[in-house]
């Protein structure tokens, strides 16, 4: 029985404000196995990015981890002293952000930025660091890496820049890569390339991936498992094929229905009425209940927990055996 690379239990990320404490990530739990790609999907504001940021320890005050545990290969990392957490960042957990243009320091050559990362985490000399930098660039598919290693970020196109960003994130050989909307800022034609590259690199380096995105199509192509988040909680989590083909949670059903399928014979896309609630006004009970077409008695007042149903876990009263009776 292999140990998960990442194990998150009951994670709670909150923001104290003068109007009270806002909870942005509420009691989230999941595991990621070595080499696995876990997709985390949901609308904007669902708390997916915050979960990733919490894992790598970059939540800015006044935000904080209010409760829960995060374990990296069994070792607790959620409340480590700053210097120890710094050593984990980059070396054991890498993170990639959405906008490759703003992710790179415009005043430094990318070769220097790569070398710096390598030198921070490994005990090699400058010459070796540079060699590795060139090798990394070649690996991510930058043509003529020997020359381009001395270029500045703005001399690359968007897709190339994201490749450089991937190279930087993988430079120190992390076990887990958190990719936060890695393709959203890119042209559609380039998105598929970057996703394929990400998957290949992580497979070759033996890294697990937490792929955060709102694009269900990307998840369907790339992920092994997927977690669907809503209002800071996980609504459903399971193998990709199951969740996509046979969604359980009414929210997931709505999400799947809203994806245009060119060959499907439908007149209108499914729309989920309403919008995700703001942090200051999260409904009681199951947060999705005001928009849910199948809400019934317990939904407004009692919050459902994740429960195994087939191969997926789902947090919905419809799948509680005793409750489901009342629904009929």
């Amino acid at each position: 029985m292999t140990e998960p690379v990442l194990s998150v239990r009951n994670l709670r990320v909150e923001f104290p404000t003068r109007r009270g404490t806002l909870v942005a990530v509420d009691d989230v739990s999941f595991d990621i196995m070595p080499g696995e790609v876990l997709g985390v999907v949901g609308e904007s504001g669902a708390g997916k990015s915050l979960t990733g940021t919490a894992i790598i320890g970059l939540i800015e005050p006044p935000g904080r981890i209010g409760a829960g545990e995060i374990r990296l290969k069994g070792e607790r990392i959620d409340h480590l002293p700053p210097e120890r957490m710094r050593r984990i960042r980059g070396k054991r957990i890498g993170m990639v952000f959405q906008d490759p243009l703003t992710s790179l320091n415009p005043l430094y050559r990318i070769g220097d930025q790569l070398s710096e990362t390598i030198l921070t985490h490994t005990d090699v000399d400058a010459g070796e660091a540079r060699r590795r930098a060139v090798a990394l660039l070649a690996e991510v598919g930058i043509p003529a890496p020997q020359q381009r290693v001395d270029s500045y970020p703005h001399q690359f196109s968007g897709g190339m820049r994201q490749r450089v960003v991937l190279a930087l994130a993988l430079a120190a050989g992390p076990e887990l890569v958190i990719a936060d909307e890695p393709t959203t800022a890119l042209d559609v034609s380039v998105q598929a390339q970057i996703i394929a590259l990400l998957k290949r690199l992580c497979r070759e380096h033996g890294a697990a991936v937490m792929l955060i995105t709102h694009d269900m199509g990307v998840i369907a192509e790339t992920a092994d498992r997927v977690a669907v988040m809503y209002a800071g909680r996980i609504a459903e989590i399971g193998p990709v094929r199951d969740v996509v083909k046979a969604p359980l949670h009414p929210y997931t059903v709505g999400l799947m229905g809203s994806i245009p399928k060119p060959d499907a014979d439908i007149d209108r896309l499914v729309q989920i009425p309403g919008t995700m609630p703001r942090l200051t006004a999260i409904p009681g009970g199951c947060p999705f209940h005001p928009r849910c077409p199948r809400a019934f008695a317990p939904c407004p007042t009692r919050r459902p927990e994740l429960r195994l149903h087939g191969r997926a876990e789902v947090a919905c009263w419809l799948f509680e055996p005793d409750m489901a009776e009342a629904a009929r």
Binding site: I56, L58, R86, R87, I88, R89, G90, K91, G94, M95, F97, D99, T102, S103, L104, N105, P106, L107, Y108, E116, T117, T120, H121, Y152, H154, Q155, V165, L168, A169, A171, A172
Partner: protein
């Protein structure tokens, strides 16, 4: 790149031309070159002849051209007050102002930048709050008031530093310097602090604001996500990105240092160009006013040009864009 430099040079020339036009208008029309040079007894015919000789009846563009030509040869006419060539007056006082300005600028940079970095990195420390409060004083107090308070404290009450003049100066060619004598060095302390305090407070606040902005950027976030040390993130990445706009603004501020020298020189009776200019304003000595305007404009324009070119040299984005563009 070359196109950019040429464009900037042309711009600078344009500004100088506009200023020259203003200076010329001042010189020719606000002051009366004749009435200031002759006595009341001079006859009308003599005045008319003088006008002819001095070329004051020539078409205006010709007069303007002559004015500019003279200016380029450092001939700015005769002072109404002192009856001596303006260029002599200015030349004598130029080193005093320049030394004061340079020492102040250096002081403000050497203190302002480190303090700014400190207050950005240690936002909540009591020292930062204190420094910020003091910097508010620095930019709120008028320069002359700072001077007076310093004089009151150190010259009147404590009696340790002089309140007037430049001390002993040493002549090096056409330059006179007070930095090579003990009395000269003591004399420059209070004026330099007075002149530089505002700049220092400004630079400190600017560095702080810029650095806080930079620390919020994605590339800093990404740098942290890669596990770079705090030192590398704060001083390697953030500081470099902060200094680029700061250095350019600080450079541009040098121009205002020269202008504020007028006030400082008045308070400390420092024998520089600023004091000369003020006396000229008080006595409507137009030739001196217009010469000062031209000279100071030339300095400002030159500084702006240098700063712009420097910016291009430092920021690779602009450098490479202008090369290909």
């Amino acid at each position: 790149m070359l196109a950019f430099v040429i464009r900037r040079l042309l711009q600078a020339l344009l500004v100088m031309l506009v200023v020259a036009l203003i200076a010329f208008t001042l010189f020719r029309f606000v002051g009366d070159p004749i009435n200031q040079m002759v006595g009341i007894e001079t006859s009308v015919e003599d005045r008319a002849r003088l006008r002819e000789v001095l070329g004051l009846n020539d078409p205006l563009p010709v007069q303007f051209g002559r004015f500019v030509w003279n200016a380029l040869h450092f001939d700015f006419g005769i002072s109404y007050q002192f009856k001596t060539p303006v260029i002599d007056l200015i030349g004598e006082r130029f080193p005093a102002t320049m030394e004061l300005a340079l020492v102040s600028a250096l002081l403000s940079l050497m203190l302002g930048i480190p303090l700014g970095v400190y207050t950005a990195l240690n936002r909540r420390s009591w020292l930062s709050q204190l420094l910020l409060a003091l910097s508010l004083f620095g930019i709120s107090l008028p320069v002359f008031l700072i001077g007076i308070l310093l004089i009151f404290a150190f010259a009147v009450s404590l009696g340790v530093l002089p309140a007037f003049g430049r001390g002993e100066v040493v002549r090096l060619g056409f330059w006179t310097t007070g930095l090579l004598t003990a009395s000269g060095l003591r004399a420059i302390i209070l004026p330099a602090i007075t002149l530089g305090l505002f700049q220092m407070a400004l630079i400190m606040r600017l560095v702080r604001a810029e650095m806080l902005e930079v620390l919020r950027t994605d590339y800093i976030k990404f740098a942290r996500a890669r596990g770079l040390t705090d030192r590398a993130v704060n001083f390697g990445h953030a500081l470099k990105n902060t200094l680029v706009p700061v250095v350019t603004i600080a450079g541009l501020q040098f121009g205002s240092i020269i202008a504020f020298a007028i006030i400082t020189e008045t308070v400390f009776q420092w024998p520089g160009m600023g004091l000369l200019f003020l006396k000229a304003v008080q006595n409507a000595d137009i030739p001196v006013m217009s010469a000062y305007l031209l000279l100071v404009a030339a300095i400002f324009v030159a500084i702006n040009l240098v700063v712009d070119l420097l910016y291009v040299a430092i920021d690779p984005r602009i450098r490479l864009e202008t090369r290909s563009g």
